[in-house]
């Protein structure tokens, strides 16, 4: 009966209730987006780092992977040391660089990765095969489009290009053997992968035994942090970064996104709270006489409070359902816009859908709904019965 009374009360002023529900829906959509933003970016980054099964990354001292052009020298010996460790299952060295492909009167410049195709963790092959031989390469669609090339074509590519003199250095003829999607590149960035030895050779003597990054896959069951410490002490020339440490550094860099999401999430909660409080308080004020009658005939304060909380809960629940759809649509749209955010891999989702995020947002909204009902419920419960009846009679 209390449900009937609560819902019927809302139905008395349908227009007002619908507007309040829409307001809550917008507030909830924003709250959901902010919860998704606060946790999604991190979760997405973590998933990306772990997607290829490498738990450790070795980068030049004081840098993050590919943060600078710095390289790790004496790579062959370091790789041999790593491969000899009992905890290590696979080691994937990567050298970064550029490829310049003559096109018309200029050149198409692309990011290039030198990898060991058998253990690489930087790209997913979409068609064709990995660059198994020294004169083979795989490229992403952006590069193929820019170079006007297709799988099976042979390109002339250089690791160095002087735009003033239009001269190239480290030139090689390379056959395109496959199309690939590069995991860590930002949207629209063209890229190619060649065997590590090929890129080392093209870059000349400085890079002959150098790599930019080494990824390490550990044996199942290995304690990552213990392995990280062991490798770090064995190879003090490099920084050994675990996924959790990389995440901590990513957290630092992206902290403003999180702060933004907390602030906007809090704002949306406050807006929802004020909206529901205002509506329910107005509704209670209009019904003080009716509530006084209920109290007079023996309805307890607790049940009056319960009815007001139910009323508030119904508005919140009514807003949460369309708000969920609206929030997911908005998140999708914003994700599309932010996928081209400079310096971040395109594979990263800013607004990652996670059931946990939805539950968290719903929980926060439910708390907000309960909090919003406290003042009107208190007002309804403590309003003097005789006074309200007298005022009602005079009115």
């Amino acid at each position: 009966m209390r449900f009937t009374l609560a819902f019927a009360t809302l139905g008395r002023h349908r227009g007002r209730t619908v507007l309040a529900v829409l307001g809550v829906a917008v507030a909830f959509a924003m709250l959901l987006d902010m919860v998704m933003l606060s946790s999604g970016l991190r979760a997405s980054f973590r998933d990306l780092l772990l997607s290829r099964g490498f738990q450790l990354r070795l980068s030049p001292k004081g840098t993050l992977p590919f943060d600078t052009d710095a390289t790790i020298g004496g790579a062959a010996r370091m790789l041999a040391t790593l491969r000899a460790l009992p905890d290590v299952v696979a080691v994937s060295p990567v050298l970064g660089g550029q490829l310049h492909i003559p096109r018309g009167r200029g050149a198409v410049t692309s990011f290039a990765l030198g990898v060991e195709p058998g253990v690489q963790g930087d790209y997913e092959l979409l068609s064709g095969h990995d660059p198994r031989r020294p004169d083979e390469l795989v490229a992403n669609d952006e590069l193929l489009r820019a170079a006007g090339a297709a799988v099976g074509d042979t390109l002339t590519a250089a690791s160095g290009y002087d735009a003033q003199l239009r001269t190239m250095s480290g030139t090689r003829r390379l056959v395109i053997t496959g199309r690939a999607r590069f995991l860590y590149l930002s949207a629209g960035q063209s890229a190619a992968a060649v065997p590590l030895s090929t890129l080392q050779g093209m870059r000349g003597a400085d890079a002959a035994d150098a790599v930019s990054l080494i990824m390490v896959r550990l044996r199942r069951g290995t304690i990552v942090e213990a392995a990280r410490r062991r490798i770090q002490s064995a190879l003090p020339r490099v920084d050994v970064i675990s996924t959790s440490e990389a995440m901590a550094r990513v957290d630092q860099r992206l902290s403003y996104f999180r702060q933004l999401s907390y602030i906007l999430g809090a704002v949306s909660l406050v807006v929802g709270f004020l909206l529901v409080t205002t509506l329910v308080t107005v509704s209670v004020n209009e019904r003080l006489g009716e509530i006084a009658v209920m109290r007079a005939i023996g309805v307890s304060r607790a049940h009056v409070v319960e009815q007001v909380v139910l009323e508030s809960g119904a508005i919140v629940l009514g807003g949460a359902v369309p708000g969920l759809g609206l929030g997911l649509l908005t998140a999708r749209y914003l994700n599309h816009i932010l996928s081209s955010f400079p310096g971040l891999p395109a594979a990263i989702d800013f607004f990652l859908f996670q059931p946990r995020a939805v539950w968290a947002a719903l929980g926060l909204l439910a708390l907000c709904g309960v909090a919003a009902s406290l003042y009107p419920a208190w007002r309804a419960a403590v309003h003097p019965v005789a006074g309200a009846l007298r005022e009602e009679a005079i009115a």
Partner: protein, 228 residues
């Protein structure tokens, strides 16, 4: 005979702005089981205030209100609410039915509060509606009922938990003469069936139906007619 409901030197003061209004000034009144008492007097003489004190809706500034010897005015709110629920029936001038509920649900509301099982309260609500002559109107909402019908529903609601006494405040005030007469007849039947009635009224016809008429002026009882 011992009093069912008793006011003992009851006072009730209100503060309206800076002014102190002494609505009830030292009234002593006993209501016995099965009695039919009318409280009459000019507007503002304290009739409704006294009724609210007797029903536990309001607490006296001084004095005691006893129900079967127990001081109800000193009860904590939860106990006082329970007292109203189980022992007192209220009927108001403006009916004050819950607009969202059907006639049957309005009657069942105090029973639901008292914890009566759904099936049982449904049956009793229909029985009470039949008693007040509205057996065909159980599913109607208050807006679909006439004033007289709404007041009958309000009387049925007041009877929901079989209270010992029904307190009614100007219950024919909003009704035409014919409907008022029907309501008076219904109250007489209720009283004949054993429920004590205390009415506040300006209606002389209704006052004549009572077995005792208590005249009030300026917050005090000035005269008391009729047999006990």
């Amino acid at each position: 005979m011992s009093a069912l409901l008793a006011a003992e030197d009851v006072h009730r003061d209100y503060r309206v702005g800076d002014e102190l209004v002494r609505a009830v000034r030292g009234i002593t009144l006993d209501i016995t089981s099965g009695e039919f008492v009318a409280l009459v007097g000019p507007s503002g003489c304290g009739k409704s205030s006294l009724l609210n004190l007797l029903g536990g809706i309001d607490r006296p500034t001084a004095g005691r209100v006893r129900f079967r010897g127990v001081d109800v005015a000193g009860m904590p709110d939860r106990a006082l609410t329970r007292f109203r629920l189980l022992h007192i029936g209220f009927v108001f001038q403006r009916f004050y039915l819950m607009p969202a509920l059907t006639a049957a649900d309005n009657v069942a509301l105090p029973m639901a509060e008292a914890g009566v099982a759904k099936q049982e309260r449904r049956m009793r609500a229909l029985e009470l509606l039949r008693y007040v002559g509205l057996d065909g109107r159980a599913r109607h909402r208050p807006s679909q009922l006439s004033g007289g019908e709404q007041q009958r529903v309000a009387i049925a609601r007041a009877m929901a938990n079989a209270p010992a006494v029904v307190l009614a405040d100007e219950l024919t005030g909003e009704l035409d003469a014919r409907t008022g007469a029907e309501i008076i007849a219904l109250l007489q039947q209720l009283n004949a069936d054993g429920t004590a009635l205390v009415l506040v009224t300006h209606d002389e016809q209704l006052a004549r139906a009572a077995r005792r008429v208590v005249h009030m002026r300026d917050g005090v009882i000035v005269n008391c007619d009729g047999a006990r």
